[in-house]
Amino acid sequence: MDLIANLAHGFGVALTFNNLLFCLIGCIIGTAIGVLPGIGPVATISLLLPITFGQPATTAVIMLAGIYYGAQYGGSTTAILLNLPGEVSSVVTTLEGYKMARRGRAGAALTVAALASFFAGCVSTVLVAASGPLLTSVALSFGPADYFSLMMLGLIISAVLAQGSVVKSIGMVVFGVALGLVGTDVQTGQQRFTFGIPELSDGVGFVSIAMGMFGIAEIILNLEKPEARSVMSGKVGSLMMTREEVRRAIPSVLRGTTVGSLLGILPGGGAALSSFGSYMMERKVSKGRHEFGTGAIEGVAGPEAANNAASQTSFIPLLTLGIPANAVMALMVGALIIQGIQPGPRMVEAQPDLFWGLIASMWLGNLMLLIINLPMIGLWVKLLAIPYRHMYPSILIFCAIGVYSLQNNVFDVYQTVFFGLFGYLCSKLRLEPAPMLIGFVLGPMMEEHLRRAMLLSRGDPMVFVQRPISATMLAIGAIALIAMLLPNIRKGKDKALQE
């Protein structure tokens, strides 16, 4: 079979000493920057681009790819241990992962995150190899109307991320969408809600919001309640997963891998949607759904599998069409062009070494990440034993450096302080930050697709129901909304009586 011959060729390329070495370097750097809050793969890859000039193209891309998926691995570590999401995808991991850590199951949460990521990485790599070109046509069949409906569905279901009132968390989603409006209007180039501040013309920074509302707000809350943090430190717990946890995690990993692989192919919002799409699914279908909100292992296993699967399949549009799906992929295009390779539709045939070598290296990279990460878990968990009075200034410093280094601009640092104070206020009012972040990320894309769909349909809103993909998603969204709101209204009174 062609596929096997090609994969064998790929492994031949990836297993050369040089490529293995750079794959390992990429994975280690990736893990490190994933763990550090604020510093993401985009910043790192752009810093490291110059050193790839001297290497063969395949080696360069293997290393950069390693950084990218390595960062996905590392990102879950701070999300679980410190409630600090560095990327959109790890926002979801904080929900159950941090709760697990507080229950003394940090070791198990980190282990399941690593194993789930590994499994998902392996499966989706095979998917990229076997059906990349086929899946490309799926991505191409998504028009603006379909994207809009997908985002809409995403926003509706993101309300299930809430631990409390559904209406309030839908409110936070809309709040996030409103915050996402700040900046230059893509369609007209006009500035909206920027108050003449040039730094806001590209919108409010995601990292500033995430660091402020999760990181700083969490520090403040922990400092306020000394008794809460004494529970936190010292309670390290066993590193190993119990048999029960393994049994519960397996189906979630399988579902997460499926969701992530499919959504990852869609350029733009796909990868962002994958992890909380999976969270939503786990919350509705998994056996442990009643434990959600208190640290359910399914809520870590599923989303972690999903985001790693998505990060591998997001290479598909790049490799088969030459079109970058996100900022990291745009940098890959840059790296290739500097190497004199034009990424394009025929890259598979024109650059078999690159294509199959990269795929094989992704598989090897996932294995390396597992080997790097599993022994590290013990070390990470020991961090929790550090007295909180040493911990919080360190987190502040790391966040501050991370936020600053994004643009080398202190405005981002001040902006983060505002979101820290706002995050504190929200937690006092029982408003959830997670739905707000999702709204913030998806809102602008939703607007873009809505306006483009209307422009292309010449003002006919029927386009959203005439296209089968779009209509299906809107229908699911409507059902989900009704299903969520009905019991909530009824429950309102019972809850009042309880308290």
């Binding site: 709040f175 909206r192 403040i220």
Partner: protein
């Protein structure tokens, strides 16, 4: 009536934000459904937020009680004083030539002073001292460099926790450790571009 104060305040936050948004949105052209202007989506979003806010408001009248923690009069006073001081100092800084008015320094100085003033009552220290420390980092990083910024930030943040005050040596150790660690990670290993030493 069982007032849910948290819900009522949340509703107030949503509605106030949306009303301000709608007011600002008057500058933007709404356009038509076919060719939506820059104001179309904000309009939809803010009206939706008002709707959701009203829903939370009405239900908040009945599903309580869920009161907020009580604030002492000192806490309220210093919160207001901090906000006023921050704005005033920021505005003054913007008029002083040189460092105080360059770039985003007026904002940083105002924010820092405001947080410090608000941190006077002990109940607010956990909230405002870490915020002040974070601001301080932004303020001193570019002129005084990475190592000084780390030192000052840790010292400022340390006041937020009473345990630190009894162990000044521990703070010194932490500063030394963080300077070395951050230098190793960010400068030596990742090579991000920040000034390491004071820039004169």
């Amino acid at each position: 009536m069982k007032l849910n104060t948290k819900d009522l305040l949340s509703a107030g936050l949503f509605i106030a934000f949306a009303v301000v948004g709608l007011w600002l949105n008057q500058d933007h052209n709404l356009g038509t459904a076919r060719r939506m202007g820059p104001g179309y989506m904000p309009m939809l979003t803010f009206w939706l937020l008002i709707g959701l806010g009203s829903f939370v408001l009405v239900s908040g009248l009945f599903n309580g009680p869920d009161p907020l923690a009580k604030w002492s009069s000192a806490e309220i006073g210093f919160l207001i004083a901090g906000a006023l001081a921050g704005v005033a100092v920021g505005m003054v800084a913007a008029r002083i030539p040189g460092f105080p008015s360059s770039g985003w320094n007026p904002l940083g100085i105002g924010l820092f002073v405001g947080c410090l003033v608000a941190a006077v009552p002990p109940g607010w220290r956990a909230l405002f001292l870490p915020s002040a420390a974070f601001t301080l980092f932004g303020l001193v990083l570019e002129p005084l460099g990475f190592l000084v910024a780390i030192t000052l930030t840790v010292i400022c943040a340390a006041f937020a926790d009473r345990e630190h005050l009894e162990r000044p040596l521990g703070v010194a150790g932490l500063i030394a450790f963080l300077c070395v660690l951050c230098w190793a990670i960010f400068i030596w290993y990742l090579d991000i571009r920040v000034p390491l030493w004071p820039q004169i």
